[in-house]
């Protein structure tokens, strides 16, 4: 796409990018939440593909850095600062957290998508990062893109078009 390098951020992954031709992408977000963080001055961004709300839900084994909202947000902030971004300038945008299916055997009250969204909001608030825009909930999938050159964030869907966050 016009010389852009699309870099997929898979389940539980965290990626930081600082090259203008890089585009970080969470493809096909369902109940997961994609979080885009961007420093518009340093032009450094990060994306986290959050799978579950809390690291306490883990099974005591090593997990990829972006798997949980609480630890994922923390790791993303640390990685961004390491790469030269300023915490105070960070802009956060999120998409996903849908309820695609009502799974058998799961507690109907346990809407993991909504809990992921809530946990991302809470983790950001704890670190005093403002969530400026989100497109979350519903029952459909989303693809989230962050353009490092401009900080532009796009959400695309199947049958519901594409829009800027």
């Amino acid at each position: 796409m016009n010389g852009c390098r699309m870099e997929a951020v898979g389940l539980g992954e965290l990626k930081v990018a600082d090259k203008p031709d890089q585009v970080l992408v969470c493809y096909g977000l369902g109940s997961c939440v994609g979080l885009a963080l961007y420093d518009p001055v340093a032009r450094i961004g990060a994306m986290v593909h959050v799978v579950l709300p809390e690291s306490s839900m883990g099974r005591g084994r090593e997990a990829p850095p972006g798997k949980y909202a609480d630890t994922g947000v923390e790791a993303a902030l640390a990685a961004l600062v390491d790469a030269g971004a300023s915490r105070s300038r960070l802009i956060a945008k999120a998409a996903g957290g849908a309820r695609m299916l009502r799974l058998a055997g799961s507690n109907p009250k346990l809407d993991i998508g909504a809990r992921n969204t809530e946990a991302v909001r809470a983790a950001l608030a704890r670190h005093q990062i403002k969530l400026v825009a989100e497109d979350t909930g519903g029952t459909y999938g989303r693809t989230l893109q962050l353009y490092i050159k401009t900080g532009r964030v796009l959400v695309s869907t199947v049958g519901r078009g594409e829009h800027e966050l």
Binding site: Y27, L101, G105
Partner: protein
């Protein structure tokens, strides 16, 4: 999950039985014969699951049937859009290329495929293991494969790291992905029970 050759064989037998039953039921439902060919079984790391059917942003038609009872898990049948339409033609006995868009009839035909597949797997499990299991009503979803599969992967991640994926084709022409995904405890239980019976 590491399986002994004998455990693999038991699992493969069970899947073959389930697919044979699916073929029979589907053929009864339609005018022609529908066969499910040479299934390939593999354990896939859950983080790779969203990409299994053409990539995470590929649009798919998916039918979901849950497994409840003594085993818990998920059965998903996935078709890419063209495959879904080809399948509808096959099911309705229409010449190939008739179905151009999925309408209500096409959707319910596909939901029925999911229903039949899910039930066949569940019957095969029950038959071979003696465990009491039952299917939930089928749900049809058309969306990005990643979004659908991720939701299931998330549930399975709570108990394990892998899913059993079965790939097959209908009449050697229409590829479909079957995902039979018991959670880790259920998988262990299923294997143990199958072994004990052999």
């Amino acid at each position: 999950m590491k399986l002994q050759p004998s455990q693999w064989a038991a699992l493969q037998d069970m899947v073959t039985q389930a697919l044979a039953e699916t073929s029979r039921s589907l053929s009864q439902m339609t005018t022609g014969e529908i066969r499910l060919d040479s299934p390939q079984l593999s354990f896939l790391p859950l983080r790779e699951l969203p990409g299994v059917a053409g990539g995470p942003d590929a649009v798919v038609t998916a039918v979901y049937v849950g497994i409840e009872g003594e085993l818990q898990g998920h059965v998903i049948v996935l078709f890419q859009p063209r495959e879904a339409r080809a399948m509808v033609d096959l099911l309705l006995g229409d010449p190939a290329g008739t179905c151009r868009e999925l309408d209500e009839l096409g959707r319910s035909a596909l939901a029925e495929v999911g229903n039949i597949c899910g039930s066949a797997f569940i019957n095969a499990i029950a038959d071979r293991s003696g465990l009491e299991v039952r299917p939930t009503p089928p749900l049809l979803v058309e969306d990005m494969a990643g979004a659908i599969l991720e939701t299931v992967a998330t549930d399975l991640l709570l108990s394990g790291d892998e899913a059993l994926v079965i790939t097959t084709a209908f009449n050697g022409a229409v590829p479909g992905h079957f995902l039979l995904m018991p959670n880790t405890e259920s998988m262990a239980r299923l294997i143990t029970t199958l072994e004990a019976i052999r």
